[in-house]
Symmetry: C2
Subunit: 421 residues, 2 copies
């Protein structure tokens, strides 16, 4: 990795940068020189220190607490509300467009991205994982149940979801240890197998972060739900298929999922994603009134998954967030229709995002069709599931009319299991 | 409610008090006079203000932060470790035994319990609900699946559990609003029903609170698991059976559970429960090595559920925590065998605690056998499930050799559903 040159004017990002002036996402970083985590945004190959910007009075027109960028999470900043967070974004954009701002702004506040250590940007209170891609749910239904009735009767009636583990959500770059666990006995009624998972998988997902809390008992109407969504991230919901397959009846996924989930460090605001709205798939049968919405509620976000090793990079999946059958406002309206409360920093993941084609499936389970069609790798090896030493890298970006807004990456290297003493 | 008289010496609790000198649980309270939530313990009919005790230097022999009792949750106090929390308990016990301490201690620090407003005592990071009563799992299996194969093949192999919603856990006394939601279509393939749950239920559970955090990737061996458990509470895992029944396949309970869970305000320490250890049910087939334990890991805690209305109190269930097939160390060892991390303040609930007899079942679902055997109430009415206006009160205590250690109660009144605008 070569050092980013010290510029003498504000450098323009390349046209392929995720972090164009149209993005201005939010994150938490530290550096070796200053190891205290603090808030930042990204521009091209640079991280921009919002704490220093605030210290230099660039936000003096906004009335917010002095320490809001000096914290290890963005929760308090996000809780200020979209009017304020949007004003911060616009101020950064204005300065970046102003060449005269180099000396008083960029020169003091920008850090080459390669020097930034990115942290988990939010304290996640609760994490919910949905199951909202019809292609994924259909594939899973075909693989494990009945291809003739792949979708269960409830699937098209509500965004099916379950609660996941918040404590084990880690930021991109954190290694993931292959989990130990029970799997199905070799013979029915026999002793379960126990050991390192043999079927370690990724799930290509996106997540959204709550920007406004509700009280217990309060419902979020579907048409107001966007007000409660601050922004989005890439999300790898790591899954141990053998552990999951043995444990999940009747109460759902548990140890097959909660050993780790990896999220990208940058929260891309819904404002930045506004140009990329598209219609979603037609919903038939019609949804119940509390799930009925108007307008374009899906987003055209290209997604891909790369398996990286010392020897090669293999793109194993290309998908798109626009395929989601259930959109985010529907997920949130459903989640709160019973009065369940949400809090700033809560994470809601989409579920695996698969498309219709075999190269757009968002998990190895589907890509290798439960291991029956191994994927050839550039070095001559094969992958049914993920090997020790593989790094799974998810990337995503939206692009239209020369505007590009990207998410960076959610990456995690799989370490071998640690056997029990 | 009559006012507790102002004593002139430290009053002895009645022999039926949950809060004997052997208990000394921890909670968070406020009063009208001082609405700032702060830490406390309980003794008989009094709450003892630990913040004031600390201010009066009663803990000066313990080296801990000055504000640890001045917080709205016990998390930081619990995180100090059992040596410290135990020393605080013992100091309170020593003072309560010393009649000379009335003037310098009790007179300043005790508040009549009826003046105390109790708060949720912990910030709950993650909440997991187990399913560890064999009688409950068997009953549910009989009711919804096959009486001949009521227990699924995995049930005796591991403590089955799932992640629940932390945000909607409320303290005893908080009203619970009947949730709206979807339920199964009247005709197969038809439009789902939507409206207030018709099958609102309680689940009699106990929960334990984590006292020591782990790092991601760290396993808690079953024999060390007790070191990580700070104490226990009563827990009502409210359930909307009709919502749950329609949504739960394949990913488990979600909106049928997450509208509210009620916990008792007092965390009873494992130290206080030490005298009540008993053997649990025999586990056959033998468990895998990582779940094998030695010694008495169950606790003899009498439990009961009362339906309270303006007109009557009806005890509908008497059960016991000792019936649990899977014990708490096994639950924790299983939960972390894959490296899932735990944090101070996490909540782990037992699942419904049913006994073998029909009056010991821990839910209306089982007590009324899915509504087929309604329970007669003292006023001539019946209950299949819980009605609007009913208050469900759970109580629990351990008693042996004249020593009583109780939990107070976990109570919640059901309010009618709020229809959608």
């Amino acid at each position: 990795m070569s050092a980013t040159p010290v510029p003498d004017s504000i450098p323009q990002p390349s046209s392929k940068s995720d972090f164009s002036i149209h993005n201005i996402p939010f994150g938490i970083f530290s550096t070796r020189q200053d190891p205290t985590p603090r808030a930042c945004t990204a521009y091209g190959d640079y991280v921009i220190d919002l704490k220093i910007m605030h210290g230099l009075a660039f936000f003096k027109h906004l009335d917010f607490p002095v320490d809001v960028f000096a914290q290890a999470t963005l929760n308090d900043f996000i809780a200020l509300g979209k009017e304020t967070t949007s004003a911060v974004r616009h101020q950064v954009q204005n300065l970046l467009k102003d060449d005269r701002a180099f000396g008083i702004f960029f020169n003091y506040c920008a850090v080459p991205m390669e020097e930034a250590i990115m942290h988990l940007p939010i304290k996640i209170g609760d994490y919910t994982d949905f199951y909202s891609s019809i292609e994924h749910a259909t594939n899973v239904g075909c693989l494990f149940r009945d291809p003739e009735n792949a979708l269960l009767p409830n699937w098209k009636r509500m965004p099916i979801g379950y609660h996941g583990r918040a404590s084990s959500i880690v930021v991109s770059g954190t290694p993931v240890r292959r989990p130990l666990g029970q799997s199905r006995p070799l013979e029915e009624g026999g002793t379960p197998q126990f050991g390192p998972s043999k079927l370690l998988d990724f799930e290509l997902e996106m997540g959204f972060v709550i920007g406004q809390s509700t009280k217990l008992g309060q419902r979020i109407p579907v048409e107001q739900a966007e007000d409660y969504i601050f922004g989005m991230v890439l999300f790898n919901d790591w899954s141990a298929r053998d552990i999951q397959g043995w444990e999940y009846v009747p109460l759902g996924p548990f140890l097959g999922k909660n050993f780790a989930s990896t999220m990208s460090p940058w929260i891309v605001t819904m404002e930045a994603l506004e140009p990329f709205r598209v219609d979603g798939p037609e919903q038939d049968p019609p949804v119940l009134p509390y799930l009925a919405f108007s307008g374009k509620k899906n987003y055209d976000i290209h997604l891909e998954v790369v398996i990286h090793t010392d020897d090669f990079d293999a793109t194993v999946c290309q998908s798109n967030f626009k395929y989601m059958y259930w959109n985010m406002p529907q997920q949130l309206a459903h989640h709160t229709v019973n009065g369940c409360n949400v809090n700033v920093g809560d994470m809601y993941a989409s579920g695996t995002i698969s498309g219709k084609t075999k190269t757009s499936y968002g998990s190895m389970l589907e890509l290798s069709w439960r291991g029956t069609h191994p994927l050839p790798m550039p070095d001559g090896s094969e992958r049914r599931f993920i090997h020790d030493g593989d790094t799974v890298i998810m990337r995503g970006y939206a692009e239209k009319d020369g505007i590009r807004v990207g998410f960076g990456e959610a990456a995690g290297k799989v370490l071998p299991a640690e056997e029990m003493a």
